[in-house]
């Protein structure tokens, strides 16, 4: 992990300095949660959780960090001395990486001295917001592809990702969200994700004819090559690919797939399927790309497209047009008691909380209950102790275990949440104990004292 101690908003450090200076360092609890769902979305797959935990237990100000802070002139020497040994010694409760979560449910609950618990906010949000968004967006695309001919999804997003980390953490998140693999070779190396690739149009254009280009490619990659067939004329491209496929058969090899990257993908896929089938190349798959998303894949499915795999780039790796989700980090309890915000738009649920997930008789999740940590209710508690006194106590899972877990959870989500346009939302009840606390605090702070109004 990169050195992230300074990857924070300046106000975290000025607040820290003021807490330090004013001896305001009692234990406090903060929740990281997401305020609401984007239009059409039905759930989030919590992601970036393990990166967040690694950050919490490892951040440390280097000598050069402190030198830089000194150079800004903002901070006093004793505070800079305090930063030298500043580290997280508190507790973290966290959902498992890949868990479906809903608005206002804590995905991380952090209790520590106020300085420590407050400081981690910005970096945590940076990681959890992006990785959660991409795992979820991908899962939406994967759900659409599954309904459309049971097709697979591959991440093609590297060139449109918002810089390298987004491409890397994004490729990892797309895998957890159900993508089969990625075009990103570095993600293949770093995470062990399966990598996929064919040719660009420029490759085909670099030879005197498409057939010559295909020939050159399969000379090098004779084991299950994929050929891009739309550079000039897709139908002729399919015929050329079929010719090459038959030649491969004579050598005991097999063409794997052809790729479409333009035009009416549903219509072309049917025509190409027919051309391939006529030549007995029924095993050759058709894959498609071209600014795809879950809505377009739904439509391709409805039009009975003969497409077995989708390469999805821009919109999956950036979650365009959503682009950012409203994950926030809020004080919910301190030595002064539970904290609440009362405005309907920006409400926070007070106190140390737990989420209980209840499974119905159909083996699907029926509803969740947001409760006080002190209550013991039916259902599966989602928040687990992950860090105790600054030390990790929950083991990390492998990437494949995480992906399997996430996809098993998605299987248990009600079907109506897995549509591209979700109309009816999942139910989250509020427990009796939490309700009572909310009522008490509303009465106490309802007239603008102590509770934050919005």
């Amino acid at each position: 992990m990169k050195d992230k101690a300074l990857l924070t908003d300046l106000y975290q450090l000025t607040m820290l300095a003021a807490y330090y200076d004013n001896d305001k360092d009692e234990r406090a609890t903060f929740d990281l949660f997401i305020r609401k769902l984007p239009k059409d979305w039905g759930y989030y797959l919590a992601n970036g959780i393990e990166d967040a935990i690694d950050y919490i237990i490892n951040f440390k100000f280097s000598a050069s960090d402190i030198e830089y802070l000194r150079s800004t002139g903002f901070f006093k020497e004793d505070f800079l001395g305090f930063l030298k040994d500043f580290k997280f010694k508190g507790d973290v409760y966290a959902v498992k990486e890949g868990t479906p979560v809903f608005p206002n449910q804590p995905v991380l609950r952090i209790s520590a001295k106020r300085t420590q618990a407050q400081f981690v906010e910005t970096a945590l949000l940076n990681m959890v917001n992006y990785q959660t968004m991409i795992a979820t967006k991908t899962n939406r695309v994967v759900n659409a592809a599954k309904k459309a001919n049971n097709a697979k999804v591959v991440d093609y997003g590297l060139r449109r990702a918002q810089e390298e980390d987004a491409a890397m953490k994004g490729a990892r998140a797309t895998y957890i969200g159900g993508a089969l693999g990625t075009s990103n070779v570095k993600a293949g190396k770093e995470y062990g994700i399966k990598i996929f690739g064919t040719q660009a149009h420029s490759f085909v254009m670099s030879f005197d004819s498409e057939l010559e280009a295909f020939g050159a490619y399969v000379k090098t990659f004779s084991e299950y090559p994929t050929l891009l067939i739309d550079t000039y004329d897709t139908i002729q491209g399919a015929k050329n690919a079929a010719k090459v496929g038959k030649e491969l058969e004579e050598k005991g090899k097999k063409l794997k797939a052809v790729r479409l990257d333009s035009g009416d993908l549903a219509d072309l896929s049917k025509k190409v399927r027919e051309i391939l089938d006529q030549q007995g190349l029924t095993y050759v798959d058709i894959v498609a790309s071209n600014d795809l998303n879950e809505y377009k894949i739904d439509e391709l499915g409805e039009n009975d497209a003969k497409i077995g795999g989708y390469g999805v780039g821009t919109e999956m790796i950036t979650a365009k047009p959503v682009a950012a989700i409203p994950g926030v980090y809020k004080l919910v309890e301190d030595n002064g008691g539970a904290k609440i915000k009362l405005s309907p738009e920006k409400k926070t649920y007070p106190g140390k909380k737990q989420v209980y997930r209840v499974t119905g008789e159909d083996e699907k999740y029926s509803h969740d209950v947001l409760a006080l940590d002190s209550e013991k209710l039916e259902g599966e508690p989602l928040l687990e102790l992950a860090v105790k006194d600054g030390k990790r106590v929950r083991a990390k899972r492998s990437l494949d275990e995480t992906r399997d877990y996430a996809l098993r959870c998605v299987d248990k989500l009600p079907e109506h949440l897995k549509q591209s346009e979700v109309k009816e939302h999942y139910e989250m009840k509020i427990s009796k104990g939490l309700n009572q606390l909310i009522n008490e605090l509303t009465e106490k702070y309802g007239n603008n004292h102590g509770g934050k109004k919005k």
Copy 2:
């Protein structure tokens, strides 16, 4: 720079292997250009150019990269041996970082052996697409703020940036695009950008009263502190801030600003201005945040908001809802001559080209001419030789020089391009020579031979 050799799509490596295997390694020229502008945008500020050049001249496959590629089973040993010493030895023409550019204008023109020129595509697009998008988006916000009360803009985006690199390269890009600084402390350290910060609502909520919280903060930061005044009631918050401001005056210190983060910012800013002015605190600025963008700032300006600074987060650092721009990298010439794509939607301009920028009598840019490199026309040529035979020949500018250059160029852009909703686009003419080449190639390849149809 991180090791980016594998930060590429697998197809770059499979194409490379096929070119290598088929002795298809003559010199070729590729253009990196952006196909079109997002709705409402009038120009791009080219950015990420220097990162792109650093990448081109420095990428190198490490032993562990090659070991990983071997482990995939895709590649032959002689090709893996070739990769070991594979580096870029060609030429790069590039616009200056921060130059305004328009659709279909090459911002990078790369001539090298086909393997070298093709290979760099993906990483270049990853850098240039994001950094160009953010510099431009920021410049749009900065233009709006300038019209609204001549206000300044600060990057508050870290928590919503798409992971760390986006936050870092994004902060740098916002600075080039005209932001005054950033909340991102690591960007402050790494790039020398000025950093800004106040408190969060949780800080105010951590004390028994707002006044106590303000007192604690100015105890620590008595030199030009900024106070967040909307935690409970903005009007009362302004009065509390004014009280603290007067107390600071007695100590010979000054309050710098108050921050609004909710509600009707225009209306509140006027009321807060009045409260401050009544106390003689006319020098105390009002800054505002809360999901801002260029359109909302326009509206605040129209409503005569008394706001001197805007903290802009989510939409500036992700360019939401745009989220990605259509930068592409296309073969324009090889040993077979100039290459063209003929489809109206995805056309490419053939051949080695130059862009000439013509300034009118009003000292504003009047139009550009896209021309063949062999033509010498009036106007300023935008593409400069930056890399010759794999070595950098153009010096890098400092960040401040780059920012000054970009903003001076923006000054020369026609005013109608600097609105939040651009209706009329900048004119780019096609030179006689380029036109003639297009006509020749269209005639030659118009019937689906050699030219790519889309």
